[in-house]
Every structure is written in structure tokens, then in C-alpha cells.
């Protein structure tokens, strides 16, 4: 049974890790600013690319606006995966490189709490980036989202489920990256193809048949689709109720699987004595 003191200790531990990440980040203001505006710059590039393609294909301005809102909604929800999962893995790699990972793992704190603590700062940063993206979309390109209170609730639920799925990918990616000789390569191979398969910029209907089949295996595809459905009324790939069920299942199943995988790799490398090695 978890008592009040333990919860208090865990909360303090989470806040301590958050404070540490904040202090480290504030030491490098240029890096912090760039990491926030980097997302907006990427978004502008994609929108200009879509406009360029639209001009070449003779798309009307109204249709072009639909594509732009389609892209923005995809980028907004994908932000969590990009920031949380990557930030998570890179935090662990930095800990490993500076030689503090083994000592931190011996702290009397459940590993799960320690790992979640490492993502809190990136999670906060994701929300800031999402705010900037939505404002950038509105003021630079005139993209607005519409929807009722119910659809807003659904959109926020999808963001929440996406965070949980990002933890799943993050746990898995962190375990692989920490144990890999080339962490950046492992993360790239693990995460970048998701962007191709999950229909972040486009509908998965344009993918070749085999790629579509692979795409339908990822719960992230349905989360992106449901988010789009909730905020801009695009039609869904399958029945919305069924998509919702898959997303909920993914949000529960993916973090558990990721965490089990992380523990397996951690045990392996602890026994081999490689965790503290750079």
C-alpha cells in the first residue's frame, strides 16, 4: 500500500529532476530558444512546401487551406512523440556520457518515477511548442481550428493518450539508445519511420498498400486521425468508436511494453557492467 509520505517523496523527487532539467536548460538560452522556434521553422517549411505543391497542381486557395490545417493538426499531435520520446532518450544518453546514470539508478526511488521525472521538462516544452505552432498557424498562414466543446474534449483526450504512447516509444527508445554504440542512429531508425507511416502530413490512403497495412498496426496512426477528426472534422480511417478503442488500448499497452523492454535492457547492461561505461 502506498502511503502519503511515499507520494510526497516521489513528488519531491519529480520536482527535483524537473528543477535540474530547468537549470541545465536555462544555462544555455540560445539552445532553449532555438529548440522552441525550431518547431515553428519546420512547420513553415512544410506549409511552404505544401503551397508550392498546391501551386504546381493547380489547387484552389480554399483547398490549399484545408491541406494546411490538415498538416498543422498532424504536427501538433506528433510534437509529443518528437519532443518527449527524443528528449527522454537524450537525457539518459547524457547521464550515461557524464557517468551519473548508474548512481542515479541506485537512488531509493522507483525507476518508473525517475524516468517519468526526466520527461517532465520536455513535456512542458511540448505544450509551449504546440502553443507557438497554433499561434504561428493562425497569424502567419491564417489556419484556424473549429469544433464544439465535445470535440475539444476529444482533442485533449487524444493529446493525453498521445503522451502515454510517447512514453511507450520513449522507454523503448531510451533502452535501445543507452545500450547502443550509436544512440543517434538507434533513435533515428526507431522514430523517424513513424512519421512516414502515421500520416502526420497526409492521409495514409496515399501510401502503397503494404505500407498502409503497416501503418494500420500503429495506434499512433489512429491517435493522429482522431485528433484531426475532433478539431477539423476530417473523416476517419475506420469507425471513430473503433479508433478510440484502439487509441485507449495503445495508450495502456505501449507504456507497459516499453517499460518492460527498458527494464530488460537495463538488467542486461547492469549485469555486464556496461551501464556506466562511455
Amino acid at each position: 500500500m502506498v502511503n502519503g509520505n511515499i507520494i510526497k517523496t516521489w513528488t519531491w523527487a519529480l520536482l527535483a529532476i524537473l528543477r535540474k532539467d530547468f537549470l541545465v536548460s536555462s544555462k544555455y538560452p540560445v539552445s532553449l530558444l532555438f529548440s522552441i522556434f525550431d518547431t515553428l521553422i519546420s512547420f513553415i517549411t512544410i506549409i511552404l512546401t505544401a503551397r508550392f505543391i498546391g501551386l504546381s497542381s493547380g489547387t484552389s486557395p480554399a483547398a490549399a487551406r484545408t491541406f494546411e490545417s490538415y498538416i498543422l493538426s498532424g504536427i501538433v499531435i506528433y510534437q509529443f512523440l518528437d519532443t518527449v520520446a527524443n528528449g527522454f532518450a537524450y537525457s539518459l544518453i547524457v547521464e550515461k556520457n557524464i557517468g551519473t546514470i548508474e548512481r542515479n539508478f541506485t537512488a531509493p526511488l522507483p525507476r518508473f518515477i525517475f524516468l517519468v521525472g526526466m520527461t517532465l521538462y520536455d513535456l512542458g516544452l511540448s505544450f509551449v511548442k504546440i502553443g507557438i505552432l497554433i499561434l504561428g498557424g493562425k497569424f502567419l498562414f491564417g489556419i484556424t481550428f473549429f469544433g464544439s466543446h465535445a470535440s475539444c474534449f476529444l482533442a485533449f483526450s487524444m493529446l493525453f493518450f498521445m503522451v502515454l504512447m510517447s512514453y511507450g516509444i520513449g522507454f523503448w527508445g531510451a533502452g535501445t539508445a543507452v545500450s547502443s554504440a550509436d544512440p543517434a542512429l538507434s533513435l533515428f531508425v526507431l522514430q523517424k519511420p513513424l512519421m512516414v507511416f502515421c500520416g502526420v502530413y497526409y492521409s495514409i490512403a496515399v501510401l502503397p498498400f503494404l505500407m498502409q497495412c503497416v501503418s494500420l498496426l500503429f495506434p499512433i496512426t489512429y491517435a493522429v486521425d482522431m485528433f484531426r477528426f475532433s478539431i477539423s472534422n476530417h473523416s476517419t480511417i475506420i469507425l471513430p468508436q473503433l479508433e478510440l478503442m484502439i487509441v485507449v488500448f495503445g495508450a495502456i499497452f505501449m507504456p507497459i511494453c516499453g517499460y518492460i523492454r527498458f527494464k530488460q535492457l537495463e538488467q542486461k547492461y547492469l549485469h555486464e557492467g556496461k551501464l556506466g561505461q562511455f
Binding site: 521553422i41 512546401t49 505543391i53 512516414v196
Partner: protein, 276 residues
């Protein structure tokens, strides 16, 4: 005189050989050099199909042209990014490992060291680009309509230009504070936005168009697009892009000589050869 030139060639060959040995120790990194641009290209390609599919039949000549346009842009971006990464951090790594002073003592020039590295890195990247072009042709259906004479000219000037940019970058990285961020700014998201990698730079607002014109990568991408796929105008390539690139090469060459003198003087005065 001849002996001096021969010795310099031996030095350059030895440095290039060492870099090749280091690079070939990690074949996964080389494979990623081919895989990464394809993974970056695919979302753009499917986006083009998505937008085109709502208008006219997919696979039309316009769509194929557009995909080739984006593919060449990403090829240039990948070539540039990899070279900047490999050459840009070389001096810093030498300094961190404490081998910069001994190498300088043998070569009597930091520039020679960087040019030796450039030979190996650019050679590998050229091989990488050829494999990527083959993958583009056979796997992604990219259409090529190469103008061989222009292609060779543009490639030669582009290689010199990117090589000189990387040497300058190596000097900047050596003294920079937030190196990771500087690297992300120079090679990350700003280059695709300003240099018209996936769209025409003409779509940029006028102040950004001027900045875009002042970046060599814009000219390299435009010229290579014409040379490989026939997209663009020959007159523009010959009258604007190639002369601009030649000017950039000359300017960068002189700036690099100046930076070399500053670095050597600074190191000799402050003795920071092995200081991290």
C-alpha cells in the same frame, strides 16, 4: 620545391587514409547516410501525392517533376549536412583528444589537416550521393535528365564550395560556446527553409529571398536540379548560380586563410592546443 609538394601530397593522403579507416569502422553510419535522406524525402513525396490526388490523376508528369525537385533538394541538404558534421567537428575532436598540436607540428598548417580530412569525407559523401541517386532512380521512381557537362561543372564547383564552407565552419565550431545549437542552426531547419530545398525560394518574403540568395546552398540546389533533372533554366544557371558559386569559393578560400592565421596565432599565444 618538388620535395615540399610531394611531402604535402603524402600528408594529405595519410590524413585521408586515417579518416577513411575511422569512417569504415562504423558502416552503420555510412548506411544511414543513404537511408536518412530517403526517410526525410518520403513524407514530402507522399504529401505531394496527397495534394495531387485531390486534383488530377496521381503520377502525372507535374507530380513526378515535383518529386524529383524535392529529391534533389534533399540530396544536396544531406550532402551538405554530412560534410559540415564530419569536417566541422574534426578540429574540435583533435583538440579534445590532444592530437591537434602534434598534427600541426608535423604539417605546419591546420588548413592542410582540414583539406586532408575533406578529401576523404567528400569522397565518401560523393559515393554516398551516387548510391542515393541510384536508390532514387530504381526505388523511388525519380526521373533524371542529366546534362553531363553542366553536371560535372556544377558538381566540381559545389564540392569546392561546400568543402570551403566546412573548413570555415570547423574554425567557428572550435571557438563557439553552444556548439550543438550552432550546429543545429547551420545544418538543421533553417537551411531547408531559406535555401529552397523542398520548395522554390521565390515563395519566401522579399527580405528572406535576399538572405536565401546569399547562401551558397540555394545556388547549389538550383544548379544541380537543372544538371540532374532539367528543372529550371540553363541561362539562369550559367549567368547567376555558377558565377555566384565561384565567387563564394574564392571568398571562402581567402576567409579561411585569414581564420587559419588567427587560430594559429591565438593558439601560439595562449597555448590552448590541448585545452577543452
Amino acid at each position: 620545391m618538388n620535395l615540399k609538394i610531394d611531402t604535402r601530397f603524402v600528408h594529405l593522403g595519410a590524413i585521408a587514409n586515417r579518416v577513411l579507416i575511422e569512417k569504415l569502422r562504423y558502416p552503420a553510419g555510412f548506411c544511414l547516410g543513404i537511408l536518412a535522406p530517403i526517410i526525410i524525402y518520403l513524407p514530402f513525396s507522399f504529401l505531394a501525392r496527397f495534394i495531387f490526388s485531390s486534383q488530377i490523376s496521381p503520377g502525372s508528369p507535374n507530380e513526378l517533376m515535383l518529386r524529383s525537385y524535392i529529391f534533389i533538394g534533399i540530396l544536396v541538404l544531406s550532402f551538405f549536412g554530412n560534410i559540415m558534421n564530419d569536417i566541422g567537428f574534426y578540429l574540435l575532436n583533435e583538440r579534445m583528444h590532444g592530437t591537434l598540436l602534434i598534427n600541426y607540428s608535423i604539417l605546419r598548417s591546420v588548413n592542410t589537416l582540414l583539406r586532408g580530412v575533406s578529401i576523404a569525407v567528400i569522397g565518401l559523401q560523393l559515393l554516398n550521393s551516387i548510391l542515393l541517386l541510384l536508390a532514387g532512380y530504381f526505388l523511388l521512381g525519380i526521373v533524371f535528365k542529366a546534362d553531363l557537362l553542366i553536371l560535372l561543372t556544377v558538381s566540381a564547383i559545389s564540392v569546392f564550395c561546400i568543402g570551403e564552407m566546412a573548413v570555415l565552419y570547423a574554425y567557428i565550431i572550435l571557438f563557439a560556446n553552444e556548439r550543438g545549437t550552432i550546429h543545429r542552426i547551420f545544418t538543421g531547419t533553417i537551411v531547408p527553409l531559406l535555401c529552397g530545398i523542398s520548395f522554390s525560394a521565390a515563395l519566401l518574403p522579399s527580405p528572406l529571398s535576399i538572405v536565401s540568395f546569399l547562401i551558397p546552398i540555394t545556388h547549389i540546389a538550383t544548379a544541380l536540379r537543372y544538371a540532374l533533372t532539367g528543372i529550371g533554366e540553363l541561362s539562369s544557371v550559367l549567368k547567376v548560380n555558377l558565377p555566384c558559386l565561384v565567387c563564394f569559393v574564392l571568398l571562402l578560400f581567402f576567409v579561411n586563410q585569414r581564420f587559419h592565421d588567427i587560430v594559429v596565432t591565438r593558439f601560439r599565444t595562449h597555448g590552448k592546443w590541448e585545452h577543452y
